[in-house]
Symmetry: C2
Subunit: 212 residues, 2 copies
DNA sequence: ATATAATGTGACTACAAAGTCATGTGACTT
DNA sequence: AAGTCACATGACTTTGTAGTCACATTATAT
């Protein structure tokens, strides 16, 4: 947590600092980021920095928190009454929202990507200790519900499937940005649909009971 | 590429150096690795190091090459006449072999894990520029064949599916090591089967044409 | 206006890293 | 025996880092 002195600052200054930090953390993997560059960019002194934050990690975690808050809010807004959606519809919306978030908040996403990196194993664990299980659990709950509603095959291993979905919801987005134009909404849809087709029906040949 | 002087060294000394490097690169993410520690461990001088390698990256790439060679050889050995296998059988063998490789060469795998990390974006790209497309293409070819042999649904998007499979073949292994005892062979099998069930049939509810 | 508290500062310390270079050593050649 | 060549060395330079601290400035309260 940043120190009280940070929160006492004027909004404009706080923003300046956070913006500088976001830029830095999005531009370099954690280990290569430099407090020196951040304070230069934010136009504050070294001494001030250490009056606001106890160290780099402190600032980093705060920025990560801000980013994941932003993502949560974004998703919550896009998926307002997701309870009403059928499971695969929801999955579709989630994929699309993930792509949209990266498009609209590229810096936050970049920081997230670096986090996935093993830059600093223990730090990653500290942060992911919350986040990954949260995502896994989210999908586990969705799957359990969907099995009850008889939308999803009761034979699947829920924990494993949740893990797969978490993994996808990350890698999908990078695949999309690597291979497609992120402005093309039709492509997003098309892609999400292909994705879902496989998740629904698998890839084995044969008549499928579920026609997409 | 290491310099000629390195290759001129006695086998024992080369091995000592590579071993020290492997230990170091497996113990820390790239940016945190230290030439100083490597030379200390390998018991050579700073000057000598720079007579063997032009810099840290040079050594690193060499070690990565060694590791991926080892993995290729390992897989080739485990899947000797894979041409004869049915597609999903082959997939199963691949998953299992991936798990076994990590169990038998944990250091190499650890280095690979750190590589996935964004430690150094441009370096990662330099190295992955080869590796990831290679894996994608491998799966693409397998899938094309399997579609022709009518083992796999012709409706799928092959590029996308290949990407998914590459992704899985990585994440499967980490999931397994996070959640299971790597010595338990039955568990490996069980896990690979669950995995395949989903890839084959998807997760939607309904009668499946393919019974695992 | 004065006193007190809060915030700001940047030179400085301590450290570790990569990479260089002049010099040393030992084996092999002529 | 003299000379050559490949390899070995570690002190040294340069560069960057995180974090500290004595002091300066500004805001707030009395």
């Amino acid at each position: 947590m940043p120190k009280q002195t940070f929160f006492n600052l004027k909004e404009a200054k706080k923003e300046r600092i956070i913006e500088a930090a976001v830029d830095e953390f999005a531009a370099h993997p954690y280990l290569k980021t430099s407090i020196n560059r951040i304070i230069e960019r934010a136009d504050i002194s070294k001494g001030s920095f250490y009056q606001y934050f106890s160290n780099k990690k402190d600032l980093y975690k705060y920025v990560i928190d801000q980013a994941s808050d932003a993502k949560m809010k974004f998703l919550a807004q896009k998926l307002q009454d997701y309870q009403k959606l059928e499971f695969f519809e929801l999955l579709r919306e989630l994929f699309i929202a993930g792509i949209e978030f990266k498009r609209e908040y590229p810096l936050f996403s970049q920081i997230g990507d670096y986090l996935l990196d093993g830059s600093n194993e223990s730090l990653k664990e500290e942060i992911y200790a919350d986040s990954r299980p949260k995502s896994n659990q989210f999908f586990e709950e969705l799957l359990e519900e969907a099995v009850m509603k008889e939308e999803v095959d009761p034979n699947i291993d829920i924990k494993l499937t949740a893990f797969m979905l978490t993994d996808f919801s990350i890698s999908i987005v990078s695949y999309f940005f690597e291979n497609h134009n992120p402005e093309n909404v039709d492509q997003i849809m098309d892609y999400a649909d292909k994705m879902l087709y496989i998740m629904k029906n698998g890839i084995a040949k044969g008549d499928k009971n579920v026609i997409n």
